[in-house]
C-alpha cells in the first residue's frame, strides 16, 4: 500500500533533515579526550534525576522519556536537549503457534486496532516515532514500503466478518475452525511499576480488541516472571522493546525457523520457508547490496505475516547543562550521550573548573568486561576500551580507528579439521579478514597493545565460552598474528557481517592470562600487579577507572597513554 508510505516517508525525511543540520553545525575533533575526569553518578529515581539536573548536581542526563521532564528541561535556558533517532523498537509479539493468533486474518485485524498515534500522543506526548516496519527508521536498512495497517476498528471488524468470525453472544466472535467462541488472548506486559507505559499500552490494546469481539485480557507480570514464560513460549501476546544495532542481523535471530527452539529468540514461532530463505540470504550476505535487498524483501514479507506488531521507535533524547559542559556530539542511532558514541566521549569538556558529572540511571552490576551485559555497565566499560573501527556519526560508515585498515578476503576452510559440534555451518568459501593495527596504542598501564592481545582476547572468549562476547565469535575458526601489528581472523562462513562482529573488548593479555575463573573475577577490585595505584581493569580506551562506590558513583580519569590524545 503506497498511501501511507508517502506520509510516513515524508515524516521520516523531515525528521532526518531536522537532525542533519544539528550534526552539520557541531564540530568535533577526532583527538581527545578533552576532559580529565568524569564522575558517573547513580540516581535511580526519575524525580530525583531531574532535581539533580536542576540543582547542577549532574550536568548530563541521558535517555529522557517522561514528557514532563522533557518539557521542564526544554524550558530551562541553561540546558540543551539533543534529539536523535535511535536503534530502538517497541513491539507486540504474537504467538503464532496458538489459536486464534495462528490465523493471519486475526493478526492483521489486531494490527488495525492499534492506535499508534493516540498511544504516542497520550502516553508520550508525541515524543516517539511511530514504526510499522521491522527495522527502526534510524538504520540505513529501514524499509518503508511495507504493508500498513491504519487504525480502523471498522475495517478490522469487516475483515473478521469476511473471514467467518461471526459475532457471538457476549460480544465474543466465534472461531470458524472450531465453531466455538474465540479463545481468550492473554496479553503480557511488565508491571506498571517497572514499565508504566508498556503496561498501559497493553491495557489499551486489550480494550480495543475486546471492542471488536476478540477476547483479550491484560496480564501485567514481573519482568523476570514474564521472561520465564517467554522462554517456554507460554504466552499469547506480549509487549517489549529491543535495543538494537545498525546491522539488521537481528531479523534472522527473531524470525528464522531455526530460532524457534526453547530459549530461542523466535518467540512468535514463525516458520515460513520463503521467509527463512530471505533471512538466510540476509544473514550470510556477501555484500552490502545483497544484504540491503534481502532486508527490504524480508521487511515486506514480515509486514504481511505479522509475527510482531511494531509500535514505535524511541528517539534518544539527552539533556546537557550548557553552563557546565560542552563538546557533546549528536549521533544517529545512539544519541549524544551513549557510550557507543565515541565522539562525545572524546570531545566532552567541562566549562567551569568543576569536573563533569554524568548521570547513570541505574547501578552498575559489574565491571568485568567478559560478563557484563547491562547497558549501564557498558556506559563505563565502553569508555575504557577502543574499537578497531569507529562509526562516522553522519554516514554511519565504518572508518579506521585502532585498525588503520583491513582487507576482506575469502579462504577455504577444511571441514575435516572443524568440530561439527562447534561449527554447524561451514561454507566452501568463507570470510577471512586481515586487520592492520596502529603501532602507537597503549593500555592505561603503559603496556603496548599489539596483535597478540587481539588474538588472546578472541581465543579467551571462545575458550571460556563467555557468551556476551562469544556470541559474536561463534564462526571464528582461528586467529593468526603474522607480526605485532597484523591480525588475520578466519571464519567458517561467508558473511558481510563478520567485520562488524569483530569490534570486541580487547583484553590485555598480560593481565588476563593469569585469570582462570573469569566469571567471578573482579578486576576493578584487584590491585595492578606492577603499577601502583591502578586496578586490574585495564583497557586501551580514552578513560580508565579511578574509583567505584557501588550504588553511589564511578570516578573515571583520563588514560595518560591514550593513543588519540592531542
Amino acid at each position: 500500500m503506497r498511501k501511507l508510505q508517502v506520509l510516513l516517508l515524508t515524516a521520516v525525511a523531515v525528521l532526518v533533515l531536522l537532525a542533519v543540520p544539528a550534526l552539520a553545525a557541531v564540530e568535533y575533533s577526532t583527538k581527545g579526550p578533552n576532559a580529565d575526569e568524569i564522575y558517573f553518578i547513580i540516581i535511580t529515581e526519575d524525580e530525583a534525576r531531574l532535581r539533580a539536573l536542576q540543582l547542577g548536581e549532574i550536568h548530563i542526563y541521558p535517555g529522557l522519556t517522561t514528557p514532563e521532564t522533557i518539557d521542564t528541561i526544554y524550558a530551562d535556558l541553561n540546558m540543551d536537549i539533543t534529539f536523535d533517532l535511535g536503534f530502538h523498537m517497541f513491539y507486540t509479539a504474537l504467538n503464532m503457534r496458538k489459536k486464534p493468533l495462528d490465523d493471519k486474518v486475526v493478526r492483521q485485524a489486531l494490527a488495525h486496532v492499534v492506535a499508534r498515534d493516540r498511544i504516542i500522543n497520550t502516553l508520550f506526548a508525541g515524543y516517539m516515532l511511530p514504526l510499522e516496519s521491522f527495522v527502526p527508521q534510524s538504520s540505513p536498512f529501514h524499509h518503508d514500503d511495507v504493508k500498513h495497517y491504519e487504525y480502523s476498528p471498522r475495517k478490522a471488524a469487516a475483515m473478521l466478518d469476511a473471514a467467518g468470525y461471526t459475532m457471538g453472544p457476549g460480544g465474543i466472535r466465534i472461531d470458524p475452525a472450531t465453531n466455538k467462541p474465540m479463545e481468550e488472548i492473554e496479553f503480557l506486559t511488565p508491571t506498571f511499576e517497572i514499565a508504566p507505559s508498556s503496561a498501559q499500552i497493553g491495557q489499551l490494546i486489550c480494550d480495543e480488541a475486546r471492542a471488536i469481539g476478540i477476547p483479550a485480557k491484560h496480564v501485567p507480570l514481573d519482568f523476570n516472571i514474564m521472561l520465564d514464560r517467554l522462554d517456554i513460549f507460554d504466552f499469547d501476546a506480549y509487549c517489549l522493546a529491543w535495543g538494537l544495532d545498525r546491522d539488521p542481523t537481528f531479523l534472522y535471530h527473531f524470525f528464522h525457523s531455526s530460532m524457534d527452539v526453547k530459549s530461542g529468540n523466535n518467540t512468535p514461532g514463525i516458520r515460513d520457508p520463503e521467509l527463512d530463505q530471505l533471512l538466510d540470504t540476509l544473514y550470510y550476505a556477501a555484500t552490502y547490496d545483497e544484504a540491503m535487498e534481502a532486508s527490504k524483501e524480508a521487511q515486506e514479507m514480515l509486514s504481511d505475516l505479522l509475527p510482531y506488531i511494531t509500535l514505535y521507535s524511541r528517539p534518544y533524547i539527552d539533556a546537557f547543562r550548557t553552563d557546565k559542559v560542552k563538546g557533546y556530539v549528536p549521533m544517529l542511532g545512539y544519541g549524544a550521550a551513549n557510550y557507543s558514541n565515541n565522539w562525545t566521549t572524546l570531545n566532552i569538556a567541562p566549562v567551569t573548573d568543576q569536573p563533569i558529572r554524568w548521570l547513570l540511571p541505574e547501578d552498575v552490576k559489574t565491571l568485568n568486561p567478559t560478563v557484563a551485559n547491562s547497558a549501564y555497565d557498558w556506559e563505563i566499560l565502553g569508555r575504557t576500551t577502543d574499537s578497531l573501527m569507529a562509526v562516522d556519526p553522519e554516514t554511519m560508515e565504518d572508518i579506521p580507528w585502532v585498525a588503520t585498515g583491513w582487507e576482506i578476503e575469502t579462504w577455504k576452510p577444511n571441514r575435516a579439521e572443524l568440530d561439527p559440534e562447534c561449527f554447524a555451518n561451514v561454507d566452501d568459501e568463507a570470510t577471512k579478514i586481515t586487520f592492520h593495527l596502529r603501532d602507537d596504542v597503549k593500555f592505561n598501564d603503559g603496556m603496548p597493545f599489539t596483535a597478540k592481545d587481539v588474538k588472546f582476547s578472541i581465543d579467551y572468549y571462545i575458550k571460556h565460552k563467555l557468551q556476551e562476547q562469544y556470541q559474536y565469535l561463534v564462526d571464528v575458526v582461528k586467529v593468526e598474528t603474522p607480526d605485532d601489528y597484523t591480525v588475520v581472523v578466519y571464519m567458517s562462513t561467508l558473511s558481510y557481517w563478520h567485520l562488524g562482529n569483530l569490534n570486541r573488548y580487547w583484553l590485555p593479555e598480560h593481565i588476563w592470562k593469569n585469570v582462570e575463573d573469569p566469571e567471578h573475577f573482579q578486576p576493578w577490585l584487584e590491585p595492578h600487579p606492577t603499577v601502583e595505584g591502578l586496578t586490574q581493569l585495564v583497557g586501551i580506551g580514552p578513560f580508565m577507572l579511578e574509583s567505584f562506590e557501588p550504588g553511589q558513583y564511578i570516578h573515571m580519569v583520563r588514560n595518560p597513554y591514550y593513543w588519540a590524545a592531542q
Binding site: 523476570n224 542481523t249 530461542g264 556470541q471
Partner: protein, 326 residues
C-alpha cells in the same frame, strides 16, 4: 534451675523456628516463577548459550541437592554469588548493613526517647494539652501509613522547599574533612529518620502514658506521696522504674517490625540498605541475594524475639521462681 529450663526451652523453639524459616526461604525462592537468567538476554544469544548460563549458575541440579547445599552454606553464612552482579552476596549485604543499622538505630533510639518522655509527661499531667497531644500522636502512629508520611515529607521539604536532599546517604562525591562529612551524612539522614521517629514516638508515647497512668495508681506510689516525697522523684524513681521492665521487653518485641519496615523507607529515600536489597532481589528473581537478605532479616527477628523472651524471663518473677508454666 527453672530459669535455665526456661532459657533452654526458648532456645530449642528458636532453633525449630529457624529451621522452618530456612526451609521456607529455600522453597519459596526455588518454586517462585521468575527466571534469573532472563535478564541476561540479548537479541543475539542462541539457545545453547542460554543453557550454558543455566548450567553455570547451578540451576540444573535436582531440587534435593540444591536444598542440602543451601542449608550447609547458609549455616556458614555463605550466600553464594548474586545473579545480577556476580559478586558475593555476603559482601553486598555487609556493604548495606551499616546503612540500615544507622537508619533504624537512630530512629528507634530517638523515637523511644522522645516517646517515653512524652508519655511520662502526659501521664503526670492528666487532662492537659500534653496528654491530648500524646494520645493524638499515638492515634496517628496507628493510622498514618508510614510511606505516606514519608512521601509528604519528601514533597514538602525536598521538592517544594529544597531544604533536604531527595535521596541517598551522602552527596557525591562526599565532602572531605570530618565535620563536613558528618554534617552531610546527617543532612541525608534527617528526613528518613525523622519520618520513622515521628511514627515510632507516637506508639511509645501512648504505651508509656498508659503504663505510667496505671503505675501511678498503685498503692506504693500513694504511700510515697503521703510520705511527702518530691513529685518528680516519685515520677522517675519509683513509677518509671517500675514500668522499665515491660518497656525493655517491648523494645525487643518492636525490633522485628522495625527491621521489616525498613523496606519501605529505604525504597522511598533510595537508602542503600538491606531492606531495599531484598525488595529489588525479589523482583529480579535474584535467588542468592534475596535468600541472603531474607535470612538475615529473619535471623535478626528471631534473635530479638529470643532476647525479648529472655529479658521478660529475667524480669518476671513468676518465671524466675518457676511458678505456673505457660
Amino acid at each position: 534451675m527453672h530459669f535455665i529450663r526456661y532459657i533452654l526451652k526458648r532456645l530449642v523453639y528458636a532453633a525449630i523456628i529457624l529451621f522452618f524459616i530456612l526451609s521456607f526461604n529455600f522453597l519459596i525462592f526455588r518454586v517462585m516463577p521468575g527466571n534469573p537468567v532472563g535478564t541476561l538476554q540479548s537479541p543475539n544469544m542462541t539457545p545453547e548459550m542460554k543453557q550454558l548460563v543455566a548450567e553455570q549458575y547451578g540451576l540444573d541440579k535436582p531440587l534435593k541437592d540444591q536444598y542440602f547445599i543451601y542449608i550447609k552454606n547458609l549455616l556458614k553464612f555463605e550466600f553464594g554469588y548474586s545473579f545480577q552482579t556476580r559478586r558475593p552476596v555476603k559482601d553486598e549485604i555487609l556493604e548495606r548493613l551499616p546503612n540500615t543499622l544507622l537508619l533504624l538505630g537512630t530512629s528507634t533510639l530517638l523515637s523511644m526517647i522522645l516517646g517515653i518522655l512524652m508519655g511520662i509527661f502526659a501521664a503526670a499531667r492528666r487532662g492537659s494539652v500534653a496528654e491530648h497531644l500524646t494520645i493524638g500522636s499515638g492515634l496517628l502512629a496507628y493510622s498514618v501509613p508510614t510511606f505516606f508520611l514519608q512521601l509528604l515529607l519528601l514533597l514538602a521539604f525536598a521538592f517544594f522547599w529544597p531544604i533536604f536532599p531527595i535521596r541517598g546517604t551522602m552527596s557525591i562525591p562526599p565532602p572531605t574533612g570530618f565535620f563536613p562529612l558528618l554534617v552531610d551524612r546527617l543532612h541525608h539522614l534527617a528526613l528518613p529518620a525523622l519520618s520513622l521517629t515521628i511514627i515510632g514516638a507516637g506508639s511509645w508515647a501512648l504505651y508509656t502514658r498508659n503504663a505510667m497512668s496505671d503505675a501511678l495508681c498503685q498503692d506504693y506510689i500513694l504511700t510515697a506521696k503521703a510520705k511527702g516525697l518530691a513529685p518528680r522523684r516519685i515520677l522517675y524513681h519509683h513509677a518509671f522504674r517500675s514500668i522499665l521492665p515491660p518497656i525493655v521487653t517491648l523494645f525487643f518485641l518492636s525490633l522485628p517490625g522495625i527491621i521489616g519496615g525498613a523496606v519501605v523507607t529505604e525504597s522511598i529515600f533510595s537508602w542503600p540498605g538491606v531492606g531495599r536489597y531484598l525488595l529489588s532481589a525479589t523482583l529480579e528473581a535474584n535467588y542468592p541475594a534475596a535468600q541472603g537478605a531474607f535470612y538475615l532479616i529473619a535471623l535478626a527477628t528471631l534473635i530479638s524475639n529470643l532476647v525479648a523472651d529472655l529479658a521478660y524471663g529475667l524480669v518476671d518473677p513468676r518465671i524466675r521462681v518457676g511458678q505456673g508454666g505457660h
